[in-house]
Amino acid sequence: MEEETPVTVTTPPHTPSGTQPPRVPIRIVTGPAGAGAAAMPAPQPGEPGGHGEPGGHGEPGNSGNSGEPATTVRLEAISCWYGGFRAIRDVSLDIERRRITALIGPSGCGKSTLLRTMNRMNDLVPSFRLAGRVTFDGVDIYGRGVDPVVVRRRVGMVFQKPNPFPKSIYDNVAFGPRINGYRGKLDELVERSLRRAALWDEVKDKLRQSGLSLSGGQQQRLCIARTIATEPEVILMDEPCSALDPRATLQIEELMAELSRDYTIVIVTHNMQQAARASDTTIFITMGDDRAGYVVERGPTLRIFTNPEHRLTEDYVSGRFG
């Protein structure tokens, strides 16, 4: 199936540009590859280079363009098990703030697993076990005293199959604010969220209808609106378009580009064009002979697709694999 199994994670140096380039459906630039190296995993405190401007990433406290650390979620030497089966082997990576990061890789390599460690959704799977550290703005989200409920409120998630609750459109969006004791004007928040999800015009006259009465693409945007309404900082998307037609897919992608001004987005996709079109950074994951997933390569999307460092990546993105 594949020729080599790297023992450790190899991530080529790369530097995303510090300022957000305007996002167009097909991205052209992310900045020169290979400049200003920041080694992964976890940069060593004393390590020279990579932390300066522009766009050193991964170090808490290292400001991007607004005094915040460039990294939001960081995985440090993560391994995951379902019962005795190891699904993820020793993955380290970080997710840049207000960027769109795409996770690509063959089916079953552990993309969803990895995504779901970022908001502790896997806690719901009884056999799941995790080693390593996951931090969010520097805080260990699996640390003692951290409640997964709080983590999930700040790291929202959109699923592969649209899963609106069997309630009205309004109640779907109001669900999160309500449970979180939102004090402001709910109507306004619902409208704002639906507008941001580019759904308002289509549903403003039927807010009381069931969320299930919408089309698939509308349902998925409703789920995005629902997620936005809780005001998370990160939105995880697990193949959000795989159940949608091309038109609805494009709508969602435009929406993502729009949302990434305020939100950090991580998207899992099987669609190479989608990853190429819609993301800033791409992480390629595959699995070893023991079917445990590991990161092969991470870099600016353009480079991953045009000039990958690894044979495995090249094979995959060019469709010779999986």
Binding site: N163, F175, G176, N180
Partner: protein
């Protein structure tokens, strides 16, 4: 009758045809039973309504089938039945629903494998045994000490035992309904930072509501048709009352009373048995059909 696949038809021997006829006939026995039950009830009830006007039966407030003057106003039996069933549901709905939620959402697989058979055990207790429990424990020991002025037979005692009887029904049917709620809905709610309880209360239970409703309606139907426990716990005093400390008579208890005594076959009382039976049958049939309908709506949901 269905034919065997085309290539076999010509060679189907007589013996196999006979077999198939027997199979089809067996399958039709259910229909025959239904038709038979309806025919018997209608036929005998019509005899009864020749002598007692339907309107008097339906609106009369006095039921006196064994003491002269005979009066056949069914309201006391109906209210007695509904009172017991209502009380039973008052107990069984919270108890059964909460147990069902616990089994479906909270209990670990190990606890579930212990708890489910125990619930089935309760569901499998013969109703006459629960009647004995009512007469031997609930009325004389439990209720005597808790409710002043309560007699040996009471609506309350009947409601409690019938409640015990139908709780497992509600529990296991609503557990099924809750489990049928797709996991994606739960995950969606969890992913928005809902606590477990919020997921259950605001997403899972509402999504399973029609299944839960259906289980409650079925429990109602069971409670209305329940006989032995009620005969022993509630007594045989057909009176129009809302006092749950009183003894009343349910429709089923009346049927038992008539068939226990040596009522002559052609008498009016004996015909009344069929009229009451028909009333009971119609009530439970309506409830069962209603629950079917609710379940069907539930199926189309996802």
């Amino acid at each position: 009758m269905t034919a065997a696949p085309a290539s076999f038809t010509r060679r189907t021997p007589v013996r196999e045809r006979l077999v198939e006829a027997f199979l089809a006939l067996s399958a039709a026995i259910g229909i025959l039973t239904t038709v038979g039950i309806v025919a018997v009830l209608v036929f005998e009830a019509v005899e009864f309504f020749r002598e007692v006007p339907l309107l008097e039966y339906l609106t009369g407030t006095v039921w006196s089938a064994s003491i002269k003057p005979f009066r056949f106003g069914v309201l006391p039996l109906v209210t007695g039945t509904l009172l017991v069933a209502g009380l039973a549901l008052l107990i069984a709905i919270p108890l059964g629903l909460v147990s069902g939620i616990y089994l479906a959402e909270y209990a670990s697989p190990r606890i579930r494998t212990v708890l489910k058979p125990l619930l089935e055990l309760i569901a499998g207790i013969p109703t006459v045994v629960l009647g004995f429990f009512a007469i031997n424990f609930i009325s004389p020991i439990l209720l005597k000490s808790l409710v002043p002025g309560i007699g040996g037979f009471s609506v309350l005692a009947g409601g409690i035992v019938v409640g015990i009887l139908v709780t497992p029904l509600i529990a296991s049917l609503s557990e099924d309904a809750l489990r049928a709620v797709p996991r994606s809905l739960r995950e969606g709610a969890f992913a928005m930072g809902a606590t477990k309880f919020e997921v259950v209360r605001r997403v899972v239970v509402p999504a399973a509501l029609s299944g839960i409703m259906a289980s409650i309606i079925l429990a109602m139907s069971r409670a209305v048709g329940e006989t032995m426990a009620v005969v022993l716990a509630v007594g045989a005093n057909p009176q129009l009352t809302l006092d749950i400390r009183e003894s009343v008579q349910t429709m089923t208890a009346f049927i038992v009373q008539i068939s226990l005594g040596d009522t002559p076959a052609g008498s009016l009382q004996f015909k009344a048995l069929f009229a009451v039976g028909a009333t009971l049958f119609l009530m439970t049939l309506a409830l069962n059909l209603l629950s079917d309908r609710v379940v069907a709506r539930f199926r189309n949901r996802y």
